[in-house]
């Protein structure tokens, strides 16, 4: 019975527990980074810009999507239907799109992307640039953080390995 308990706990712990802890969420629009990068020839910084302070400016406003997707396509393909959903639900009524963030630091963390431009985006983020479908977003039901939000030990480890200061004020202003 010891073995049964051991195996049962391992199964529950490694398979059942994550199902219980994380909710699985889909983006409100099936946004294809790949299409925008490859077909439309866009660059990351057209939508994801930095403030003068180095802070990530955030996700683009609905107006930015509306610059190209002002009208419904009327098409019947899955992509056209998704574009029409975007236009009808968000662009035309000018409502903010409730994008789900994969990594959103809490307000008490000052994270400057400009100080980390030496790394590739995919070092820390999902490699969405090469994805046609946005990955599932997992939210910790208890903490409300997304599963992939980088925790403090992750920040500290990298800082320590690269000889960068780990003083409190570096990240907490």
């Amino acid at each position: 019975m010891f073995i049964v308990g051991l195996v049962g706990a391992l199964v529950v712990g490694w398979w059942g527990f994550p199902q219980l802890l994380y909710s699985q969420n889909s983006q409100p629009i099936r946004f294809s980074h790949k299409v925008h990068m490859e077909s439309a020839g866009m660059e990351c910084k057209q939508c994801h810009t930095y403030a003068a302070s180095g802070q990530y400016v955030g996700l683009p406003a609905t107006e930015a999507c509306g610059e190209c997707h002002a009208d419904e396509t009327g098409g019947t393909s899955d992509s056209d239907k998704e574009i029409d959903k975007l236009v009808k639900t968000y662009v035309q009524p000018n409502k903010p799109i409730p994008w789900l963030s994969y990594q959103f630091q809490p307000d008490n963390v000052f994270f400057a992307h400009t100080a980390h431009t030496g790394f590739e985006c995919k070092t820390c983020h999902p490699d969405v640039a090469n994805m046609d479908n946005p990955p599932v977003q997992y939210t910790d039901r208890l903490s409300t953080y997304s599963k992939q939000t980088m925790r403090m030990p992750g920040c500290e480890r990298c800082h320590a390995e690269l000889g960068v200061s780990n003083a409190c004020y570096v990240c907490h202003k």
Binding site: F2, G5, L6, A9, A52, V57, P96, L142
Partner: protein, 722 residues
């Protein structure tokens, strides 16, 4: 196979061991740790597109530029605009609150009409028609109170009053700007008074809390900071004379305790010593001035009046005489009520020191031209004295107006002898309040017109008091539409005036502002920025005159500056007025009566906005304990009055009484009780209402002889231990 005790224990043991090799315990602990930090009562910055927008602070009297963080177009927080000459990156508690106030629960959301003792919502069309009818009916019997200290909005209000034949019934809420401006006029001065702290090497602040309430506070703070570098000797000395350790006193090299309301006596005592040391002036009344101060303001007499030891006064006079670029700035420790004589006496000292229109001295900034016919100029606006007018109305000497308009002002709370003033206001026939919040004045109005806040409207800031240069900045809407069904007050005034057949020549306020900008663009000024330091221009550096469309840079948050001072001719020392205005004899001490001073902190809000919610946590126990205001006095005063920390005192003035707690603090001079300001609201929201007592209620307003200005900074109160 049966399940025996041994099997169950084995299962549990296996489960326990297995669990240790899964993330269950570690992950749950980590998630709980993060969950414990999710405090629902702390506002979160919303997700969305973050941008910075530039505008100018209207709630803060110092008029600094703001750099506002917006998320999806909604302002969420603000910092100072580094390129703006009045802020240089600094932001005040009031400026910062502009974002948060947008979403305050105390905002008036719809036009409201009083029905019995309650309000009912009405439409804007109904409100406009009613207001226009009242304007027509009350022609000749209208009064208006404006809380705007410097904007073109005052031109709209005063031009409307002129059309109604009541130009003399335009009143500003009392401020240092008004008292200093009046004093300057009475001395024959031209232009607007400003102080070039950035280039001065010795600054004497006579009751002027330069970093909290007096003049261009942000500019003053940045100038102070620029003169002090780590490990280097400060480039300037700052001496503070006042009854309590204000923010300025703490930053000063020396705090010289002085009884409240005696700033004029200190200035005249210094003048007497400077003249004795050889100072002179070309002013026509120099001989009279010399005779007056020499006879009445010897160090001994000044000591009796102010509490400043003769030796300390002589030391201050010596420092001023030895300085290359001395500057004397007078004021009231809470930004109002000092009368005109204190400013006049301090300006006279600056004249004796030859510090008018020179770098590091008093600068007379030019006034930008008006754009509306019939509008009052700034000096004309200063002529009306609201406290005097309401006192006269309360006493039945002046009839109450048929129509009273209040614009961004809360006189029912923010004037001395507040209960009496509120009663006088109540006697007006019909009261229209342009208000963003349901404050005390709005609560007693008959018609409340919800005014858009600065970040929802076009407005401007024109040369705030204390700036040593003429400066113009625009306030612009940062939201696509107001948060509630509010309108810009000036747009409503213009529309109602047109409806009443009193058209003022513009149908919207942004058109008035465009006309203003087009006019001032011809004044030969420049657009200040990182490359052009205004203090360097004041010190003699050239600045290229701006050419082109001025509206554009102003909309981007820039400021237009004219740094050429107004030439003075025939400036007097105010000898005759000062001699008539001041009592040279010290008042006799009375039992149970004590000098009252007011401790002012911008974070406690203003009468117009209440206590900004974000500053509630900064209110200390020695300012507000529960629902009671706490007064401070030092150990010697406590011994004299036989009170201890934690006692309660009843303070009684001519118009009312308040009860305060007692805290001991050596930050107040002996013989003075310091009561914090900004508390005791009976309106607004849960954050402001019924929190403490309004110290203004127990102050005593008196009319200063000769100048006619109302004064209450030297108030005394009767005290009784409860």
């Amino acid at each position: 196979m049966g399940v025996d005790r041994r099997a169950v224990i084995g299962l549990i043991a296996g489960g326990a061991v297995g669990t240790m090799f899964t993330p269950v315990l570690w992950k749950t602990t980590s998630s709980i740790a993060l969950w414990s930090q999710n405090w629902g009562w702390i506002p979160r910055i919303p997700k969305g597109e973050r941008k910075y927008a530039y505008t100018t602070s209207k709630l803060c009297p110092s008029g600094g530029g703001l750099k506002v963080l917006t998320v999806d177009g909604l302002p969420v927080t603000a910092a100072g605009n580094p390129a703006h000459p009045l802020s240089m990156g600094g932001v005040s508690a009031l400026g910062l609150s502009e974002c948060y106030m947008l979403y305050s629960p105390a905002r008036v959301k719809k036009p409201m009409l009083k029905a019995g003792t309650a309000f009912k919502e009405i439409t804007w069309d109904e409100a406009l028609s009613l207001f226009a009818d009242k304007l027509k009916a009350a022609k000749g019997k209208v009064a208006a109170v404006s809380g705007d200290q410097s904007g073109t909005a005052n031109e709209v209000v005063s031009a409307l009053l002129a059309k109604l034949g009541c130009a003399d019934k335009f009143f500003l809420m009392p401020s240092e700007a008004q008292a200093a401006g009046k004093a300057w006029q009475m001395m024959g001065g031209h232009g607007l008074v400003g102080y070039d702290l950035a280039n001065a090497d010795t600054v004497l602040a006579l009751g002027a809390d330069l970093f909290e309430s007096s003049g261009a506070t942000l500019l003053n703070a940045r100038s102070y900071s620029a003169q002090r570098s780590t490990l280097e000797k400060p480039a300037a000395k700052l001496i503070y004379v006042g009854s309590q350790r204000t923010t300025t006193a703490y930053a000063s090299r020396k705090w010289v305790p002085c009884l409240p309301g005696q700033e004029a006596a200190v200035a005249l005592g210094l003048a007497a010593l400077l003249i004795k040391g050889g100072a002179a002036s070309d002013a026509s009344d120099f001989a009279d001035f010399k005779a007056f101060v020499t006879a009445n303001y010897t160090p001994e007499k000044v000591e009796a009046l102010t509490g400043i030891k003769a030796a300390a006064l002589e030391k201050m006079a010596k420092k001023l005489a030895e300085a290359k670029k001395p500057l004397v700035v007078a004021g009231s420790e809470f930004g109002q009520g000092a009368g005109c004589s204190a400013y006049m006496a301090a300006l006279a000292v600056n004249i004796l020191l030859k510090r008018i229109n020179v770098p590091g001295g008093v600068y007379a900034a030019p006034e930008f031209p008006k754009v509306l016919d019939g509008a009052l100029s700034r000096p004309q606006m200063y002529a009306g004295d609201l406290v005097k007018y309401l006192t006269s109305v309360a006493g039945g000497k002046t009839p109450a107006p048929d129509l009273l308009i209040t614009y961004d002002a809360n006189p029912a709370f923010g004037l001395p002898q507040a209960p009496a003033m509120a009663k006088a206001l109540e006697s007006a026939g019909f009261k229209v309040a342009f208000a963003s919040f349901m404050d005390e004045t709005a609560a007693q109005a008959d018609l409340v017109l919800p005014a858009s806040l600065p970040m929802e409207r076009y407005d401007d800031v024109v040369s705030p008091y204390g700036a040593p240069f003429a400066v113009y900045s625009l306030v612009r809407p940062l939201l696509k539409k107001p948060v509630h069904d509010t309108r810009a007050a000036c747009d409503v005034l213009l529309a109602a005036a047109a409806k009443a057949g009193l058209a003022l020549g513009a149908d919207s306020f942004d058109k008035v502002l465009k006309a203003k900008v087009a006019t001032i663009a011809k004044a030969g000024g420049f657009v200040a920025g990182k490359d052009i330091s205004v203090s360097a221009v004041l010190a003699g550096k050239d600045a290229p005159a701006f050419t082109g469309d001025l509206w554009k840079p102003l909309m981007e948050g820039a400021a237009y500056v004219v740094a050429s001072p107004v030439k003075q001719d025939g400036l007097s020392l105010g000898a005759k007025t000062l001699a008539a205005a001041l009592k040279a004899d010290a008042a006799k001490a009375e039992d149970g009566v004590i000098a009252l001073t007011v401790a002012y902190k911008a974070r406690s809000g203003s009468p117009a906005v209440g206590i900004p919610a974000q500053d509630l946590t900064a209110v200390r126990d020695n300012e507000l304990e529960g629902h009671m205001t706490v007064a401070k006095l030092n150990a010697a005063t406590a011994k004299m009055l036989k009170v201890e920390a934690g006692d309660k005192l009843k303070l009684t003035g001519p118009a009312g009484a308040i009860t305060v707690g007692v805290a001991l603090s050596e930050s107040v001079m002996t013989g003075v009780l310091a009561v914090p300001m900004g508390f005791g609201h009976t309106a607004f929201d849960d954050f402001s209402k019924n929190k403490g007592q309004n110290v203004l209620a127990v102050m005593t307003a008196t009319e200063e002889p000769a100048t006619g200005a109302s004064s209450w900074s030297g108030s005394k109160v009767k005290i009784a231990k409860i």
